[in-house]
Symmetry: C2
Subunit: 297 residues, 2 copies
Protein backbone atom coordinates (compact mmCIF):
# COMPACT_ATOMS: atom_id res chain seq x y z
CA UNK A 1 0.00 0.00 0.00
CA UNK A 2 1.46 3.34 -1.02
CA UNK A 3 0.33 6.91 -0.71
CA UNK A 4 -1.13 6.78 -4.24
CA UNK A 5 -2.05 3.17 -5.06
CA UNK A 6 -2.80 -0.15 -3.47
CA UNK A 7 -1.41 -3.14 -5.34
CA UNK A 8 -3.09 -6.42 -4.47
CA UNK A 9 -3.11 -10.00 -5.67
CA UNK A 10 -3.40 -13.62 -4.61
CA UNK A 11 -0.02 -15.31 -4.28
CA UNK A 12 0.03 -19.07 -4.54
CA UNK A 13 2.43 -21.56 -2.98
CA UNK A 14 4.87 -21.25 -5.88
CA UNK A 15 4.94 -17.45 -5.66
CA UNK A 16 2.76 -16.89 -8.72
CA UNK A 17 0.62 -13.75 -8.45
CA UNK A 18 -3.02 -14.18 -9.52
CA UNK A 19 -5.46 -11.37 -10.31
CA UNK A 20 -3.02 -8.61 -9.57
CA UNK A 21 -4.72 -5.23 -9.50
CA UNK A 22 -3.90 -1.65 -8.66
CA UNK A 23 -6.51 0.69 -7.13
CA UNK A 24 -6.24 4.22 -5.77
CA UNK A 25 -5.49 4.45 -2.03
CA UNK A 26 -8.51 6.00 -0.28
CA UNK A 27 -7.24 8.94 1.75
CA UNK A 28 -9.67 9.93 4.51
CA UNK A 29 -8.06 12.30 7.03
CA UNK A 30 -10.82 11.60 9.59
CA UNK A 31 -10.41 7.83 9.55
CA UNK A 32 -7.25 7.08 7.54
CA UNK A 33 -6.71 3.54 8.79
CA UNK A 34 -10.36 2.45 8.59
CA UNK A 35 -10.77 3.82 5.06
CA UNK A 36 -7.95 1.69 3.66
CA UNK A 37 -9.17 -1.37 5.56
CA UNK A 38 -12.60 -0.99 3.97
CA UNK A 39 -10.92 -0.99 0.58
CA UNK A 40 -8.81 -4.04 1.49
CA UNK A 41 -11.97 -5.94 2.50
CA UNK A 42 -13.47 -5.11 -0.92
CA UNK A 43 -10.33 -6.30 -2.68
CA UNK A 44 -10.38 -9.55 -0.73
CA UNK A 45 -14.04 -10.13 -1.70
CA UNK A 46 -13.27 -9.40 -5.37
CA UNK A 47 -10.37 -11.85 -5.43
CA UNK A 48 -12.46 -14.48 -3.61
CA UNK A 49 -15.21 -14.35 -6.22
CA UNK A 50 -12.69 -14.31 -9.08
CA UNK A 51 -10.72 -17.28 -7.68
CA UNK A 52 -13.23 -19.33 -5.69
CA UNK A 53 -10.87 -22.32 -5.80
CA UNK A 54 -8.09 -20.38 -4.04
CA UNK A 55 -9.38 -18.66 -0.90
CA UNK A 56 -6.78 -16.47 0.83
CA UNK A 57 -5.47 -18.15 3.98
CA UNK A 58 -3.57 -15.11 5.28
CA UNK A 59 -2.95 -11.52 4.22
CA UNK A 60 0.33 -9.63 4.07
CA UNK A 61 -0.11 -5.88 4.30
CA UNK A 62 2.86 -3.57 3.90
CA UNK A 63 2.82 0.19 4.32
CA UNK A 64 5.29 3.10 4.37
CA UNK A 65 6.17 5.17 7.42
CA UNK A 66 7.10 4.00 10.90
CA UNK A 67 5.81 0.49 11.48
CA UNK A 68 6.04 -1.63 14.60
CA UNK A 69 5.62 -5.02 12.99
CA UNK A 70 5.89 -6.92 16.28
CA UNK A 71 2.99 -5.02 17.85
CA UNK A 72 1.22 -4.77 14.47
CA UNK A 73 0.89 -1.01 14.78
CA UNK A 74 1.23 1.72 12.15
CA UNK A 75 3.01 4.27 14.33
CA UNK A 76 3.21 7.10 11.85
CA UNK A 77 2.74 7.70 8.16
CA UNK A 78 3.10 11.18 6.69
CA UNK A 79 1.53 10.14 3.38
CA UNK A 80 -1.29 7.96 4.66
CA UNK A 81 -2.14 10.02 7.71
CA UNK A 82 -2.36 7.61 10.63
CA UNK A 83 -0.75 7.66 14.03
CA UNK A 84 -0.61 4.57 16.26
CA UNK A 85 -3.26 2.68 14.32
CA UNK A 86 -3.56 -1.00 15.43
CA UNK A 87 -3.45 -2.20 11.87
CA UNK A 88 -2.97 -5.94 12.34
CA UNK A 89 -5.76 -6.36 14.89
CA UNK A 90 -8.22 -4.22 12.89
CA UNK A 91 -7.35 -5.93 9.62
CA UNK A 92 -7.83 -9.38 11.12
CA UNK A 93 -11.30 -8.29 12.28
CA UNK A 94 -12.32 -7.09 8.81
CA UNK A 95 -10.65 -9.77 6.71
CA UNK A 96 -11.30 -12.75 8.98
CA UNK A 97 -7.88 -14.26 8.27
CA UNK A 98 -4.45 -13.93 9.96
CA UNK A 99 -2.63 -10.76 8.92
CA UNK A 100 1.09 -10.00 8.72
CA UNK A 101 1.60 -6.26 8.98
CA UNK A 102 4.97 -4.81 8.11
CA UNK A 103 6.98 -2.02 6.54
CA UNK A 104 6.97 -1.78 2.74
CA UNK A 105 10.66 -1.17 2.11
CA UNK A 106 11.85 -3.56 4.82
CA UNK A 107 9.66 -6.30 3.36
CA UNK A 108 10.81 -5.65 -0.20
CA UNK A 109 14.40 -5.38 1.00
CA UNK A 110 14.22 -8.73 2.78
CA UNK A 111 13.26 -10.31 -0.56
CA UNK A 112 15.97 -8.38 -2.38
CA UNK A 113 18.52 -9.37 0.28
CA UNK A 114 17.45 -13.05 0.21
CA UNK A 115 17.46 -13.44 -3.56
CA UNK A 116 19.46 -10.50 -4.97
CA UNK A 117 23.10 -9.52 -5.20
CA UNK A 118 23.72 -9.08 -1.47
CA UNK A 119 22.72 -12.53 -0.29
CA UNK A 120 26.30 -13.53 0.53
CA UNK A 121 26.70 -10.56 2.93
CA UNK A 122 25.61 -10.26 6.55
CA UNK A 123 25.85 -6.52 7.09
CA UNK A 124 23.79 -4.88 4.41
CA UNK A 125 21.82 -1.70 3.78
CA UNK A 126 19.13 -1.69 1.07
CA UNK A 127 18.27 1.85 -0.06
CA UNK A 128 15.29 2.67 -2.23
CA UNK A 129 16.05 6.00 -3.87
CA UNK A 130 13.05 7.46 -5.65
CA UNK A 131 10.86 10.48 -4.91
CA UNK A 132 12.02 10.00 -1.33
CA UNK A 133 14.55 7.65 0.23
CA UNK A 134 13.67 4.65 2.36
CA UNK A 135 15.96 1.91 3.58
CA UNK A 136 16.23 -1.39 5.35
CA UNK A 137 19.22 -2.28 7.51
CA UNK A 138 20.59 -5.78 8.12
CA UNK A 139 23.17 -6.53 10.77
CA UNK A 140 24.69 -9.97 11.27
CA UNK A 141 22.19 -11.27 8.70
CA UNK A 142 19.15 -10.03 10.64
CA UNK A 143 16.87 -7.08 9.92
CA UNK A 144 17.43 -4.17 12.31
CA UNK A 145 14.01 -2.79 13.21
CA UNK A 146 14.32 -0.97 16.57
CA UNK A 147 10.56 -1.00 16.97
CA UNK A 148 10.12 0.46 13.49
CA UNK A 149 12.49 3.38 13.94
CA UNK A 150 15.52 2.02 12.04
CA UNK A 151 16.31 2.67 8.38
CA UNK A 152 15.34 6.34 8.24
CA UNK A 153 18.30 7.08 5.99
CA UNK A 154 16.32 9.62 3.99
CA UNK A 155 16.08 11.75 7.11
CA UNK A 156 19.72 11.43 8.17
CA UNK A 157 21.68 14.69 8.14
CA UNK A 158 24.09 15.49 5.31
CA UNK A 159 26.11 18.64 4.54
CA UNK A 160 23.84 21.18 2.85
CA UNK A 161 25.22 22.18 -0.57
CA UNK A 162 22.89 25.20 -0.48
CA UNK A 163 24.14 26.47 2.88
CA UNK A 164 24.91 30.17 3.04
CA UNK A 165 28.60 30.94 2.45
CA UNK A 166 30.55 30.54 5.69
CA UNK A 167 27.84 28.51 7.40
CA UNK A 168 28.29 24.79 8.06
CA UNK A 169 24.66 23.97 7.49
CA UNK A 170 23.21 20.53 7.14
CA UNK A 171 20.05 19.20 5.59
CA UNK A 172 18.62 15.71 5.15
CA UNK A 173 19.70 13.13 2.57
CA UNK A 174 16.27 13.06 0.92
CA UNK A 175 16.53 16.81 0.16
CA UNK A 176 19.71 16.35 -1.93
CA UNK A 177 20.23 12.70 -2.86
CA UNK A 178 16.76 11.51 -3.93
CA UNK A 179 15.59 11.39 -7.54
CA UNK A 180 12.91 13.88 -6.55
CA UNK A 181 15.45 16.29 -5.09
CA UNK A 182 17.72 16.06 -8.14
CA UNK A 183 14.89 17.18 -10.45
CA UNK A 184 13.72 19.86 -8.02
CA UNK A 185 17.17 21.31 -7.28
CA UNK A 186 18.03 21.42 -10.98
CA UNK A 187 14.79 23.19 -11.79
CA UNK A 188 15.37 25.67 -8.97
CA UNK A 189 18.98 26.41 -10.05
CA UNK A 190 18.46 26.54 -13.82
CA UNK A 191 14.82 27.40 -14.39
CA UNK A 192 14.69 24.48 -16.86
CA UNK A 193 12.13 21.73 -16.58
CA UNK A 194 13.44 18.22 -17.23
CA UNK A 195 12.13 14.69 -17.16
CA UNK A 196 13.13 13.90 -13.59
CA UNK A 197 16.56 12.85 -12.36
CA UNK A 198 17.12 10.98 -15.62
CA UNK A 199 16.74 14.26 -17.50
CA UNK A 200 19.28 15.95 -15.21
CA UNK A 201 21.78 13.14 -15.81
CA UNK A 202 21.28 13.46 -19.59
CA UNK A 203 21.88 17.21 -19.44
CA UNK A 204 24.98 16.73 -17.29
CA UNK A 205 26.30 14.31 -19.94
CA UNK A 206 25.61 16.96 -22.58
CA UNK A 207 27.77 19.51 -20.79
CA UNK A 208 25.21 21.37 -18.63
CA UNK A 209 27.35 22.43 -15.65
CA UNK A 210 24.36 23.14 -13.39
CA UNK A 211 23.02 19.65 -14.05
CA UNK A 212 26.48 18.18 -13.37
CA UNK A 213 26.72 20.02 -10.05
CA UNK A 214 23.26 18.90 -8.93
CA UNK A 215 24.09 15.30 -9.84
CA UNK A 216 27.45 15.51 -8.01
CA UNK A 217 25.72 16.95 -4.94
CA UNK A 218 23.41 13.93 -4.93
CA UNK A 219 26.33 11.53 -5.23
CA UNK A 220 28.14 13.35 -2.40
CA UNK A 221 25.10 13.14 -0.16
CA UNK A 222 24.48 9.44 -0.86
CA UNK A 223 28.17 8.70 -0.28
CA UNK A 224 28.11 10.64 2.98
CA UNK A 225 25.22 8.55 4.33
CA UNK A 226 26.70 5.28 3.09
CA UNK A 227 29.92 6.10 4.96
CA UNK A 228 27.92 6.78 8.14
CA UNK A 229 26.55 3.24 7.84
CA UNK A 230 30.05 1.85 7.31
CA UNK A 231 31.43 3.62 10.37
CA UNK A 232 28.51 2.93 12.70
CA UNK A 233 27.54 -0.64 11.81
CA UNK A 234 30.34 -1.86 9.52
CA UNK A 235 28.06 -2.17 6.47
CA UNK A 236 29.77 -4.40 3.89
CA UNK A 237 27.26 -4.10 1.03
CA UNK A 238 24.79 -1.41 -0.02
CA UNK A 239 22.02 -2.37 -2.44
CA UNK A 240 20.52 0.58 -4.29
CA UNK A 241 17.09 0.34 -5.83
CA UNK A 242 14.27 2.70 -6.78
CA UNK A 243 14.12 5.04 -9.74
CA UNK A 244 17.61 6.49 -9.30
CA UNK A 245 19.20 3.03 -9.55
CA UNK A 246 18.10 2.96 -13.21
CA UNK A 247 21.11 5.19 -13.87
CA UNK A 248 23.20 2.05 -13.21
CA UNK A 249 26.94 2.59 -13.39
CA UNK A 250 26.47 6.29 -14.09
CA UNK A 251 25.38 6.43 -10.46
CA UNK A 252 27.38 3.57 -8.94
CA UNK A 253 30.80 4.40 -10.40
CA UNK A 254 31.08 7.99 -9.07
CA UNK A 255 29.44 6.83 -5.84
CA UNK A 256 32.12 4.16 -5.28
CA UNK A 257 34.83 6.72 -5.95
CA UNK A 258 33.32 9.22 -3.51
CA UNK A 259 32.86 6.59 -0.78
CA UNK A 260 36.45 5.49 -1.26
CA UNK A 261 37.60 9.10 -0.92
CA UNK A 262 35.75 9.61 2.37
CA UNK A 263 36.78 6.37 4.05
CA UNK A 264 40.23 5.87 5.53
CA UNK A 265 41.23 2.49 7.07
CA UNK A 266 37.64 1.21 6.91
CA UNK A 267 36.47 -1.70 4.77
CA UNK A 268 35.00 -0.49 1.45
CA UNK A 269 31.36 -1.52 1.02
CA UNK A 270 30.22 -3.26 -2.15
CA UNK A 271 27.71 -1.05 -4.00
CA UNK A 272 25.18 -3.22 -5.79
CA UNK A 273 22.22 -2.41 -7.99
CA UNK A 274 18.92 -3.93 -6.85
CA UNK A 275 17.67 -6.77 -9.05
CA UNK A 276 14.05 -7.42 -8.17
CA UNK A 277 12.39 -4.12 -8.98
CA UNK A 278 8.71 -3.35 -8.55
CA UNK A 279 7.54 -6.81 -7.56
CA UNK A 280 9.77 -7.17 -4.50
CA UNK A 281 7.12 -5.47 -2.34
CA UNK A 282 4.31 -7.81 -3.31
CA UNK A 283 6.56 -10.85 -2.86
CA UNK A 284 7.72 -9.53 0.50
CA UNK A 285 4.14 -9.09 1.68
CA UNK A 286 3.31 -12.62 0.51
CA UNK A 287 6.33 -14.07 2.35
CA UNK A 288 5.29 -12.18 5.50
CA UNK A 289 1.80 -13.68 5.19
CA UNK A 290 3.24 -17.14 4.68
CA UNK A 291 5.39 -16.71 7.81
CA UNK A 292 2.22 -15.96 9.82
CA UNK A 293 0.90 -19.35 8.75
CA UNK A 294 4.06 -21.03 9.97
CA UNK A 295 5.88 -21.03 6.65
CA UNK A 296 4.40 -24.31 5.46
CA UNK A 297 1.57 -23.04 3.24
Amino acid sequence: MGGTDIKAGLVDARGTVLGMRRVPTPLDPARPGEAVLDRLAELKAELASEFPEAPAKAAGIIVPGIVDSVAGVGIYSANLGWRNFPFKAEAEKRLGIPVAFDHDVRSAAAVEHSFGGSKEFNDVVVMVVGTGIAAAVFSGGKAVTAGGFAGELGHAQVPDPDAAPGATGSTILEAVGSAGAIAKRYHRASGNTVDGARGVLLRAGAGDSVAARVWDDAVDALAFTICQCVNIIGTEAVVIGGGLAEAGDELLEPLRKRVDGILDFQRRPQLIRAQLGQDAGLLGAALNARAVLGGAQ
Copy 2:
Protein backbone atom coordinates in the same frame (compact mmCIF):
# COMPACT_ATOMS: atom_id res chain seq x y z
CA MET B 1 45.77 -3.52 26.85
CA GLY B 2 46.07 0.08 25.75
CA GLY B 3 48.62 2.00 23.75
CA THR B 4 50.33 3.12 26.98
CA ASP B 5 49.65 0.56 29.70
CA ILE B 6 48.61 -3.02 30.23
CA LYS B 7 46.31 -3.56 33.21
CA ALA B 8 46.21 -7.13 34.46
CA GLY B 9 44.78 -9.07 37.36
CA LEU B 10 43.28 -12.36 38.43
CA VAL B 11 39.48 -12.25 38.58
CA ASP B 12 37.79 -14.81 40.79
CA ALA B 13 34.34 -16.34 40.45
CA ARG B 14 32.70 -13.48 42.34
CA GLY B 15 34.35 -10.83 40.14
CA THR B 16 36.93 -9.77 42.74
CA VAL B 17 40.19 -8.62 41.14
CA LEU B 18 43.34 -9.97 42.79
CA GLY B 19 46.86 -8.63 42.30
CA MET B 20 45.85 -5.92 39.85
CA ARG B 21 48.86 -4.29 38.27
CA ARG B 22 49.63 -1.80 35.53
CA VAL B 23 52.76 -2.09 33.40
CA PRO B 24 53.91 -0.16 30.31
CA THR B 25 52.87 -1.65 26.98
CA PRO B 26 55.98 -2.84 25.12
CA LEU B 27 55.93 -1.22 21.68
CA ASP B 28 58.13 -3.04 19.19
CA PRO B 29 57.44 -1.98 15.60
CA ALA B 30 59.22 -5.07 14.23
CA ARG B 31 57.17 -7.59 16.22
CA PRO B 32 54.31 -5.64 17.84
CA GLY B 33 52.10 -8.66 18.59
CA GLU B 34 54.85 -10.94 19.86
CA ALA B 35 56.28 -8.24 22.13
CA VAL B 36 53.03 -7.77 24.04
CA LEU B 37 52.49 -11.53 24.24
CA ASP B 38 55.91 -11.92 25.87
CA ARG B 39 54.87 -9.36 28.47
CA LEU B 40 51.53 -11.12 29.01
CA ALA B 41 53.33 -14.41 29.64
CA GLU B 42 55.49 -12.67 32.27
CA LEU B 43 52.41 -11.20 33.91
CA LYS B 44 50.75 -14.60 34.02
CA ALA B 45 53.85 -16.12 35.67
CA GLU B 46 53.99 -13.29 38.23
CA LEU B 47 50.34 -13.73 39.17
CA ALA B 48 50.75 -17.51 39.33
CA SER B 49 53.60 -17.26 41.86
CA GLU B 50 51.78 -14.58 43.85
CA PHE B 51 48.51 -16.58 44.00
CA PRO B 52 49.54 -20.26 43.77
CA GLU B 53 46.13 -21.28 45.14
CA ALA B 54 44.29 -19.59 42.22
CA PRO B 55 45.81 -20.62 38.88
CA ALA B 56 44.26 -18.82 35.89
CA LYS B 57 41.91 -21.13 33.96
CA ALA B 58 41.45 -18.80 30.99
CA ALA B 59 42.63 -15.38 29.86
CA GLY B 60 40.61 -12.47 28.53
CA ILE B 61 42.65 -10.10 26.40
CA ILE B 62 41.12 -6.90 25.10
CA VAL B 63 42.77 -4.43 22.75
CA PRO B 64 41.87 -1.24 20.82
CA GLY B 65 41.60 -1.01 17.03
CA ILE B 66 39.79 -3.30 14.64
CA VAL B 67 39.28 -6.70 16.19
CA ASP B 68 37.71 -9.80 14.68
CA SER B 69 36.78 -11.55 17.90
CA VAL B 70 35.26 -14.55 16.11
CA ALA B 71 38.47 -15.32 14.20
CA GLY B 72 40.60 -14.13 17.14
CA VAL B 73 42.54 -11.72 14.93
CA GLY B 74 43.79 -8.21 15.62
CA ILE B 75 43.08 -6.74 12.21
CA TYR B 76 44.49 -3.29 12.74
CA SER B 77 45.67 -1.09 15.57
CA ALA B 78 47.10 2.35 14.88
CA ASN B 79 48.47 2.67 18.44
CA LEU B 80 49.82 -0.85 18.92
CA GLY B 81 51.08 -1.36 15.40
CA TRP B 82 49.81 -4.74 14.29
CA ARG B 83 47.94 -5.83 11.18
CA ASN B 84 46.16 -9.17 10.94
CA PHE B 85 47.89 -10.68 13.94
CA PRO B 86 46.38 -14.05 15.00
CA PHE B 87 46.21 -12.96 18.61
CA LYS B 88 44.05 -15.69 20.12
CA ALA B 89 46.02 -18.59 18.62
CA GLU B 90 49.41 -17.08 19.50
CA ALA B 91 48.31 -16.17 23.02
CA GLU B 92 46.99 -19.69 23.67
CA LYS B 93 50.39 -21.07 22.62
CA ARG B 94 52.29 -18.79 25.02
CA LEU B 95 49.90 -18.86 27.96
CA GLY B 96 48.84 -22.49 27.74
CA ILE B 97 45.21 -21.69 28.64
CA PRO B 98 42.11 -20.82 26.58
CA VAL B 99 42.07 -17.17 25.49
CA ALA B 100 39.13 -14.87 24.75
CA PHE B 101 40.33 -12.09 22.45
CA ASP B 102 38.10 -9.08 21.94
CA HIS B 103 37.79 -5.35 21.48
CA ASP B 104 38.44 -3.17 24.52
CA VAL B 105 35.53 -0.75 24.22
CA ARG B 106 33.03 -3.39 23.06
CA SER B 107 33.94 -5.54 26.04
CA ALA B 108 33.71 -2.68 28.51
CA ALA B 109 30.50 -1.51 26.84
CA ALA B 110 28.92 -4.94 27.18
CA VAL B 111 29.51 -4.74 30.94
CA GLU B 112 28.24 -1.15 31.04
CA HIS B 113 25.18 -2.16 29.01
CA SER B 114 24.49 -5.23 31.18
CA PHE B 115 24.82 -3.51 34.54
CA GLY B 116 24.58 0.25 33.87
CA GLY B 117 21.85 2.73 33.03
CA SER B 118 20.98 1.33 29.60
CA LYS B 119 20.13 -2.25 30.61
CA GLU B 120 16.43 -1.78 29.95
CA PHE B 121 17.07 -0.76 26.32
CA ASN B 122 17.67 -2.99 23.29
CA ASP B 123 19.04 -0.47 20.80
CA VAL B 124 21.97 1.21 22.45
CA VAL B 125 25.21 2.94 21.54
CA VAL B 126 27.96 3.21 24.17
CA MET B 127 30.47 5.97 23.34
CA VAL B 128 33.77 6.38 25.14
CA VAL B 129 34.83 9.98 24.62
CA GLY B 130 38.38 10.63 25.75
CA THR B 131 41.55 11.42 23.82
CA GLY B 132 39.82 9.68 20.93
CA ILE B 133 36.30 8.30 20.53
CA ALA B 134 35.46 4.62 20.47
CA ALA B 135 32.03 3.03 20.60
CA ALA B 136 30.06 -0.17 20.85
CA VAL B 137 26.73 -0.62 19.11
CA PHE B 138 23.88 -2.85 20.28
CA SER B 139 20.88 -3.66 18.12
CA GLY B 140 17.95 -5.72 19.34
CA GLY B 141 19.93 -6.42 22.51
CA LYS B 142 22.89 -7.90 20.64
CA ALA B 143 26.33 -6.43 19.97
CA VAL B 144 26.80 -5.34 16.36
CA THR B 145 30.33 -6.34 15.35
CA ALA B 146 30.41 -6.72 11.54
CA GLY B 147 33.68 -8.65 11.74
CA GLY B 148 35.20 -5.92 13.93
CA PHE B 149 34.32 -3.00 11.66
CA ALA B 150 31.30 -1.61 13.55
CA GLY B 151 31.40 1.15 16.15
CA GLU B 152 33.92 3.42 14.43
CA LEU B 153 31.95 6.49 15.50
CA GLY B 154 35.11 8.48 16.09
CA HIS B 155 35.84 8.24 12.38
CA ALA B 156 32.34 9.08 11.16
CA GLN B 157 32.06 12.31 9.18
CA VAL B 158 30.69 15.49 10.77
CA PRO B 159 30.43 19.05 9.45
CA ASP B 160 33.81 20.76 9.84
CA PRO B 161 33.51 23.92 11.95
CA ASP B 162 36.90 25.00 10.59
CA ALA B 163 35.91 24.67 6.93
CA ALA B 164 36.87 27.59 4.73
CA PRO B 165 34.05 30.11 4.27
CA GLY B 166 31.73 28.96 1.50
CA ALA B 167 32.96 25.37 1.58
CA THR B 168 30.79 22.57 2.94
CA GLY B 169 33.69 20.68 4.40
CA SER B 170 33.48 17.74 6.70
CA THR B 171 35.89 16.18 9.12
CA ILE B 172 35.65 13.27 11.56
CA LEU B 173 33.90 13.28 14.93
CA GLU B 174 37.11 12.58 16.84
CA ALA B 175 38.66 15.78 15.41
CA VAL B 176 35.96 18.00 16.95
CA GLY B 177 34.00 16.11 19.61
CA SER B 178 36.67 14.27 21.64
CA ALA B 179 38.14 15.59 24.87
CA GLY B 180 41.49 15.64 23.09
CA ALA B 181 40.12 17.72 20.22
CA ILE B 182 38.44 20.21 22.57
CA ALA B 183 41.76 20.97 24.30
CA LYS B 184 43.66 21.08 21.01
CA ARG B 185 41.17 23.27 19.11
CA TYR B 186 40.96 25.71 22.03
CA HIS B 187 44.74 25.97 22.22
CA ARG B 188 44.95 26.52 18.46
CA ALA B 189 42.24 29.21 18.47
CA SER B 190 43.26 31.10 21.61
CA GLY B 191 46.95 30.38 22.13
CA ASN B 192 46.10 29.55 25.78
CA THR B 193 47.10 26.27 27.37
CA VAL B 194 44.46 24.71 29.60
CA ASP B 195 44.03 21.55 31.61
CA GLY B 196 42.28 19.50 28.91
CA ALA B 197 38.61 19.65 27.97
CA ARG B 198 37.73 20.30 31.61
CA GLY B 199 39.81 23.49 31.48
CA VAL B 200 38.00 24.61 28.32
CA LEU B 201 34.63 24.05 29.98
CA LEU B 202 35.74 26.06 33.04
CA ARG B 203 36.86 28.93 30.81
CA ALA B 204 33.62 28.83 28.84
CA GLY B 205 31.74 29.10 32.15
CA ALA B 206 33.90 32.12 33.06
CA GLY B 207 32.88 33.97 29.87
CA ASP B 208 35.67 33.00 27.46
CA SER B 209 33.85 33.11 24.10
CA VAL B 210 36.49 31.07 22.23
CA ALA B 211 36.20 28.32 24.84
CA ALA B 212 32.40 28.45 24.58
CA ARG B 213 32.54 28.12 20.79
CA VAL B 214 34.94 25.16 20.93
CA TRP B 215 32.71 23.44 23.52
CA ASP B 216 29.61 24.12 21.40
CA ASP B 217 31.34 22.73 18.31
CA ALA B 218 32.03 19.51 20.23
CA VAL B 219 28.42 19.27 21.36
CA ASP B 220 27.23 19.88 17.78
CA ALA B 221 29.52 17.15 16.43
CA LEU B 222 28.51 14.61 19.09
CA ALA B 223 24.82 15.42 18.49
CA PHE B 224 25.30 15.03 14.74
CA THR B 225 26.72 11.54 15.13
CA ILE B 226 24.13 10.51 17.71
CA CYS B 227 21.38 11.54 15.26
CA GLN B 228 23.00 9.42 12.53
CA CYS B 229 22.69 6.43 14.86
CA VAL B 230 19.04 7.29 15.57
CA ASN B 231 18.20 7.52 11.87
CA ILE B 232 20.14 4.49 10.70
CA ILE B 233 19.53 1.97 13.49
CA GLY B 234 16.83 3.56 15.66
CA THR B 235 19.12 3.96 18.69
CA GLU B 236 16.99 4.50 21.80
CA ALA B 237 19.72 5.12 24.37
CA VAL B 238 23.26 6.50 24.15
CA VAL B 239 25.61 5.88 27.06
CA ILE B 240 28.50 8.32 27.26
CA GLY B 241 31.65 7.42 29.15
CA GLY B 242 35.31 8.35 29.08
CA GLY B 243 36.92 11.55 30.29
CA LEU B 244 34.43 13.93 28.66
CA ALA B 245 31.50 12.28 30.50
CA GLU B 246 32.95 13.68 33.74
CA ALA B 247 31.38 16.99 32.68
CA GLY B 248 28.05 15.32 33.52
CA ASP B 249 25.01 17.49 32.87
CA GLU B 250 27.17 20.30 31.52
CA LEU B 251 27.69 17.97 28.58
CA LEU B 252 24.43 16.01 28.57
CA GLU B 253 22.00 18.93 28.86
CA PRO B 254 23.17 20.90 25.80
CA LEU B 255 23.64 17.60 23.95
CA ARG B 256 19.99 16.60 24.57
CA LYS B 257 18.85 20.00 23.36
CA ARG B 258 20.94 19.82 20.20
CA VAL B 259 19.82 16.26 19.39
CA ASP B 260 16.22 17.35 19.88
CA GLY B 261 16.77 20.28 17.50
CA ILE B 262 18.17 18.05 14.74
CA LEU B 263 15.55 15.30 14.93
CA ASP B 264 12.09 15.66 13.51
CA PHE B 265 9.50 12.87 13.89
CA GLN B 266 12.10 10.44 15.21
CA ARG B 267 12.15 8.98 18.69
CA ARG B 268 14.45 10.95 21.02
CA PRO B 269 17.24 8.81 22.43
CA GLN B 270 17.94 8.76 26.16
CA LEU B 271 21.38 10.19 26.87
CA ILE B 272 22.89 8.47 29.88
CA ARG B 273 26.20 8.92 31.69
CA ALA B 274 28.26 5.72 32.00
CA GLN B 275 28.37 4.31 35.52
CA LEU B 276 31.14 1.75 35.64
CA GLY B 277 34.20 3.82 34.80
CA GLN B 278 37.75 2.51 34.54
CA ASP B 279 37.09 -1.04 35.72
CA ALA B 280 34.54 -1.93 33.05
CA GLY B 281 37.34 -3.04 30.69
CA LEU B 282 38.91 -5.46 33.17
CA LEU B 283 35.50 -6.88 34.08
CA GLY B 284 34.59 -7.20 30.41
CA ALA B 285 37.81 -9.11 29.69
CA ALA B 286 37.10 -11.40 32.66
CA LEU B 287 33.54 -12.08 31.49
CA ASN B 288 34.88 -12.87 27.99
CA ALA B 289 37.33 -15.34 29.54
CA ARG B 290 34.58 -16.90 31.60
CA ALA B 291 32.46 -17.31 28.46
CA VAL B 292 35.30 -19.24 26.81
CA LEU B 293 35.10 -21.71 29.71
CA GLY B 294 31.37 -22.14 29.12
CA GLY B 295 30.16 -19.58 31.60
CA ALA B 296 30.18 -21.91 34.62
CA GLN B 297 33.57 -21.06 36.20
